[in-house]
Amino acid sequence: MNLFEFCYGILHWLVDLVNNLWYWLGDFLPWYFGDFFTAVGDFAASDGHLTFMTILLESVVIIVVALINVLNFLWIFRKLSGRILDFYGPYYVGYRIGGWLQNLADGMKLFIKEIIVPTKADRLGFLLAPVIFVASSLVILSVIPLSVNFGLSTNESGEYVSAGALFALAAFSIAPFAILLAGWSSNNKYTLIGGMRSAAQMMSYEIPLILCAASVFLLAGSFNFVDIVDAQHDVWFLIPLFIGFVVFLICLIAEVEIIPFDLPEAEAELVEGWTTEYGGMRFGLFYMTTAVRSYAGGALATAFFLGGWQGPSFIPDEIWFLIKAYIVYTVFMWLTWSVPRVRIDQMLGLGWKRLLPLAMLNLLIAAALKSGGWF
């Protein structure tokens, strides 16, 4: 049973339950009301309506599962930083589960804080920026399947959105707009510079990222996650496209803005970069969204290069996928805590002079492999 059938079944059962009550209620009314009631009930039970609601329910289920993983990611972020930097990390909140509840406690604390909009800020932009940032990041998660059976599909056969990978990459690159909006509307010099840096950084690292993904699409011959993973049945794309994998990972680090490339929020010179003026849950959302984007990045790297959910069958497919995504994230964290931050000109130089030619070379390799008939 795949996720579509599961959600469809639940909705069907629910609609039947409600419709029994609904039709029974309609029997007591005059005929013109009764017909209306019947029409509404029939519409609710119709296949089109149920399919539409199923797709919505599916994406909610997928995003909730992903967010639970994001909580794990935040916990790993703190616990692993403790292990690397020689302190304990979260410990007392959720004592028996290694301080896992610390993030929930922090979230609760941020919820009860006041939302302050600076007087001279552009109010609309200031309030809209976090919404765009969070929404564009969450929508990535909905199209990433954890296995053949656990993904967003539009019919019982379990066929996924045909351009899911393309959609994920497109949603990934909306963020600079939100960051620039946040930086500009805050009316603060630190946020302005942070926003500008972020825009420059994300735009220059977007191109090698997409080029590496393009090499994967070329080998797999599809934009669909299932096809991409199936194409890695014999050999993971990690091996033929090793250069691409490394470039992809570096670009992902730049895209999710963690330490070697966290210039937009470089706390030593720009206080908190483009999030300086945000407080309370709006800051919390930015913080959480960084982890969401890390998760999405890890998942994309897993699906594109690490064979997705493929692995020995004694572990379920979904768990294989998550294990690989967690490993990618752990590598990110390992890097984050052990290297300093680069400078903006050095970073752009790296992006345009090193990663772009390497990504081109990688695309060339992929094209050669494809035309040579190996894939």
Binding site: D86, K189, P260, E269, P340, I344
Partner: protein, 360 residues
């Protein structure tokens, strides 16, 4: 982008204290800079005029939170010069050993803050952890962890505690192992080298004209260290090198401080070896004669001078403090212009700001 002024401070992660660096940027490039100091002015020189000579020692500890022992040592040295008090040899050795430990602790704190500025979290926590070894030793020696109040006019407050020699040698051995690891950690990191080599050039003549002293001057190619050039205490007995480099960039300043830690380890060892038995404190007179006393020491941050004027009573008529950082910070605009905004943290971090002594 139009040029604009950015305030880095007084409440800002870059400053390490309470001061303000106004930077004029054109996009990301710095075109002008203007340090503003004085937020932490406590009027220490004036306070000292109302206190008796021994009461001033704890006040001078508060001058620098990074290396308080050096400042109280400097004060005692200048008052001994004024009063003509002879310090027992054992006390001199204990002082030299203690201020060298303090120098290591201070440089480690600098390294931690510097790594933290550059975004290198692991450098921050590891160095702060190893600073703890020397802070613990100083606590065993003096009884406190930050403001020690240890030197006295005419000696030091206590003798060494039991087993202190053994613990110190152990700590120094440990530290030498760790220093090798730091060199691998920092210099092995390509990004660290990218952020440091060739950044924040301070030329030799500029450094001399602006009166910069200490590691920043030695990194610009001037071999000037009061411990060698105007030896005080028992430094002539010690065998050590003055770390000097010609490059004058952030990396040279980092390298000079690392080399100084190696040399300090050597000095601690020698001081423990050569330390004679005997008294560690002489009774000092209550009143100072009318006259002046001068003390000059090599602080971890540069040349520190104290000038005491006595008027025959038990309180100084005037106490003047020359802070190395107050002079060094005025060189900041000279160094900063032309570099990127992100280099401000590397350059100002490399100068090792300490606002307590700066504002006094």
């Amino acid at each position: 982008m139009a040029e604009m002024w950015i305030n880095m401070g007084p409440q800002h992660p870059m400053t390490h204290g309470l001061w303000n660096l106004r930077v004029k940027v054109d996009g990301e490039t710095i075109v002008d800079a203007e340090p503003e100091v004085g937020y932490l002015h406590r009027g220490i020189e004036k306070i000292c005029e109302g206190l008796t000579y021994p009461q001033i020692i704890p006040i001078t500890d508060r001058l620098c939170y990074g290396s308080s022992l050096t400042w109280s040592h400097l004060y005692c040295q200048s008052v001994e010069d004024l009063m003509g008090v002879e310090v027992p040899e054992r006390a001199e050795y204990i002082r030299v050993m203690a201020i060298e430990m303090q120098r290591i602790a201070s440089h480690l704190m600098w390294l931690a803050a510097y790594a933290g500025d550059l975004g290198m979290s692991v450098g921050f926590t590891y160095t702060m952890r190893d600073r703890e070894v020397f802070v613990d030793l100083l606590q065993a020696l003096t009884g406190s962890r930050l403001t020690y109040n240890y030197p006295r006019i005419g000696g030091v407050a206590h003798d060494l505690p039991p087993n202190f020699d053994r613990d110190s040698i152990r700590a120094v051995d440990y530290m030498e192992g760790r220093l090798k690891e730091y060199e691998d950690l920092f210099e092995g990191s390509k990004i660290f080298m990218m952020r440091n080599v060739g950044i924040g050039l301070l030329r030799k003549e500029d450094a001399l004209n602006l009166g910069v002293t200490g590691p920043s001057l030695r990194a610009s190619g001037v071999s000037y260290d009061l411990r060698k050039d105007m030896p005080y205490s028992v430094y002539p007995e010690m065998d050590f090198e003055v770390a000097t480099l010609d490059d004058g960039d952030c990396y040279a300043r980092y390298r000079v401080r690392m080399d100084e830690m190696w040399e300090s380890c050597k000095i601690v060892r020698q001081a423990l070896q050569k330390m004679p038995k005997g008294r560690w404190r002489m009774v000092s007179p209550r009143n100072a004669p009318a006259g002046t006393g001068l003390g000059r020491v090599e602080d971890p941050r540069g040349e520190a001078v104290m000038y005491v004027v006595g008027d025959g009573s038990d309180k100084p008529y005037r106490l003047k403090i020359r802070s190395p950082i107050f002079v060094t910070v005025s060189a900041a605009p000279k160094i900063l212009v032309g570099y990127k905004l992100a280099d401000v943290v590397a350059i100002m971090g490399g100068l090792d700001m300490c606002i307590g002594e700066n504002d006094r």
